[in-house]
């Protein structure tokens, strides 16, 4: 059964069209990598799905709800969390406070701390490093730890699908390995569906799963990550050989 379905979704910024009529569906438990060069529209697509940038056209369904153009916090409450690019931790808050903000406690009434406590323990179980430094200021964490923190923050709403924008951005390769290790473990533990945007296909080939290649706002290829990654078609599409 498909968890997320996009039909003919497009995203525009003024006159610029970033995503042109993209359609695909994502089954529960799947890992989908969206790769592609700079300016392919990957991040725009992700932002449209999470509701940060409302789509200019098309329709997005999540678990049978039409979520097209709904507010990000509503979409998060339905179980679709997004981890934005660039690890935007709340630097002046402690790790624990960062996670608490992730619960969307604005909507919670009295006793939100107690309700958040069980989610907190679950996130700490996944990322023990966060528990060790729970009272440390988030701004003092290393890049890898900050990435784990924003993933942890996205988990605080107990989502079924997590959409992550470039988790490897600005991280050393061995740190990226650690982040992915946790992601893969999470997927098994929580039966999570993952939607990951990465610029390069290397990571997708290592992890496996499904891969789509975007370029110029369109999806050019869609298939098994390992098979696609080694194909000639992939390179040709990525770099746009043979179009001129």
């Amino acid at each position: 059964m498909s968890l997320l379905t996009l039909s003919n979704v497009s995203v525009r910024y003024g006159r610029l069209t970033a995503v042109r009529g993209v359609s695909f569906s994502l089954a529960e438990g799947e890992v989908l990598f969206i790769t592609g060069p700079n300016g392919a529209g990957k991040s725009s697509l992700l932002r449209a799905i999470a509701g940060v940038t409302p789509p200019a056209g098309g329709r997005i369904d999540f678990e049978g709800h039409d979520i097209t153009g709904r507010a990000p916090e509503d979409i998060a409450r339905l179980g679709l969390s997004m981890v934005p690019e660039g690890r935007d931790v709340f630097g002046g808050l402690t790790i624990e406070e960062n996670l608490l903000v992730g619960t969307g406690m604005h909507a919670a009434e009295r006793g939100w701390r107690a309700r958040a406590a069980s989610e907190l323990e679950a996130v700490y179980a996944t990322f023990p490093i966060l528990k060790d430094r729970r009272h440390a200021q988030a701004g003092l964490l290393s890049g890898g730890q900050q990435q784990m923190l924003v993933i942890g923050r996205a988990l605080m709403t107990n989502p079924r699908l997590v959409a992550i924008d470039e988790p490897s951005l600005g991280l050393a390769p061995n740190i990226t390995d650690q982040v992915y290790e946790r992601l893969i473990a999470l997927r098994a533990e929580r039966k999570l569906t993952l939607l990951i945007v990465e610029q390069s296909s290397t990571r997708a080939m290592l992890v496996g799963g499904r891969m789509m290649l975007m370029r110029g706002g369109e999806i050019l290829l869609d298939g098994d990550a390992r098979a696609l990654g080694q194909s000639e078609a992939m390179q040709a599409a990525y770099f746009g050989y043979g179009e001129h």
Partner: protein, 355 residues
């Protein structure tokens, strides 16, 4: 275990209060009238700086206008505590019921807090949509508006002349208690969910909005609360000297309050309180040196006016070495097990290649 973050941070207001109690005891043991007054001034300044911190520290928006709320509070003290006979002469335009009102000083401080909070709510619902320097300038405009209204509305404020006859409270304890209450209120707010939301919005407005935080509303709550603290402080200030004029609560007090907050460390409660205590102590020491110190048989005295210059120089030096203030981003805390255990796994090289 669940309550641990709140309990853990409880040590901060307790330590700060103990520090204030130490200052109060010093005044009691010294037993001199002028020194007593100095300590009272320090406690009042603590209330102002903590009030300002409640908004500025949590929201990251600098306000130049908070002393306006102290002004509103100071005049509430004048309206509600001066003997009706005296009031009629200085402020003939007051409504009859207010003219006949005469309440104790602590009640006037409470009414002042409510009155200032009301106006903070009115101004704030317009101002809190602004961010950055625009917000700061708008708060300054608010200060100028309040000042010119109070300087010209002769029948209820006696214009620029001093309003005298406010009952003077010379004992130190009410001021100490008020300062401690301000510290605890500010602490409770900043760990509440409203405070948490506002601090998140201060650090990353976009991510905070995406987490569903209504930023103008979060700011408004802090603005009203801090306006209330300033109002109470203004009323107590009036009771400490017995007179008010609009210029008591204008640029001079605004800049003293802001600089103490900046030197102490804008984003923490400890910074707010320590900024006052350290700078006030420094001012006092310089005053003594100006007055002259007996060393052996000779008297050593600094030339007059050195106090202001030295104070400025010290502030520059502090900010040179600690640009985020004395406390930086740290709260005063009891060292507790497991709080800041190093969890680092060696250096993690970071490159910054962005898409």
């Amino acid at each position: 275990m669940r309550q641990s973050p709140a309990l853990r941070s409880l040590s901060t207001p307790i330590l700060l209060s103990l520090l204030l109690v130490c200052f109060a005891l010093a005044a009691v043991f010294a037993g001199s009238r002028p020194f007593n007054q100095t300590i009272i001034d320090i406690f009042l300044q603590v209330i102002f700086v903590v009030g300002l911190y409640t908004f500025v520290g949590n929201s990251g928006v600098i306000s130049f206008g908070h002393i306006a709320f102290a002004c509103l509070g100071g005049y509430v003290a004048a309206w509600t505590t001066i003997k009706p006979m005296l009031k009629g002469g200085a402020m003939p335009g007051l409504p009859d019921w207010l003219m006949q009102t005469e309440i104790p000083y602590w009640a006037s401080a409470l009414v002042a807090a409510l009155w200032a909070a009301l106006w903070a709510g009115i101004f704030g619902s317009v101002l809190m949509r602004l961010s950055g320097i625009a917000a700061s300038i708008a708060t300054f405009a608010m200060l100028a508006m309040v000042n010119s209204i109070y300087s010209n509305w002769e029948s209820v404020t006696s214009a620029t002349s001093s309003v005298v006859g406010i009952p003077i409270v010379r004992v130190i304890w009410p001021y100490l208690i008020a300062a401690i209450i301000a510290v605890f209120v500010a602490w409770a707010y900043s760990i509440s969910r409203h405070g948490l939301a506002l601090r998140a919005a201060r650090d990353e407005p976009t991510a905070a909005a995406a987490s569903g935080i209504d930023i103008p509303r979060a700011r408004l709550i802090a603005f009203v609360l801090s306006g209330g603290i300033m109002g109470a402080g203004g009323a107590l200030y009036a009771h400490s000297i017995g007179i008010v004029t609009p210029d008591t609560f204008y640029l001079g007090l605004t800049f003293t309050t802001l600089s103490m907050l900046v030197v102490g460390g804008m984003s923490t409660l400890s910074g707010a309180v320590l900024g006052v205590l350290i700078l006030s102590t420094l001012i006092q020491v310089l005053r003594w040196l100006e007055a002259g110190v007996q060393i052996g048989t000779s008297t050593f005295a600094l030339p007059g006016g050195v106090q202001e210059i030295a104070l400025g120089a010290v502030m520059i030096v502090i900010l040179m070495f600690r640009p985020t203030g004395i406390m930086g981003n740290k709260e005063l805390n009891l060292p507790m097990a497991g709080s800041e255990k190093a969890g680092r796994q060696g250096p993690e090289p970071q490159t910054t290649n962005k898409e």
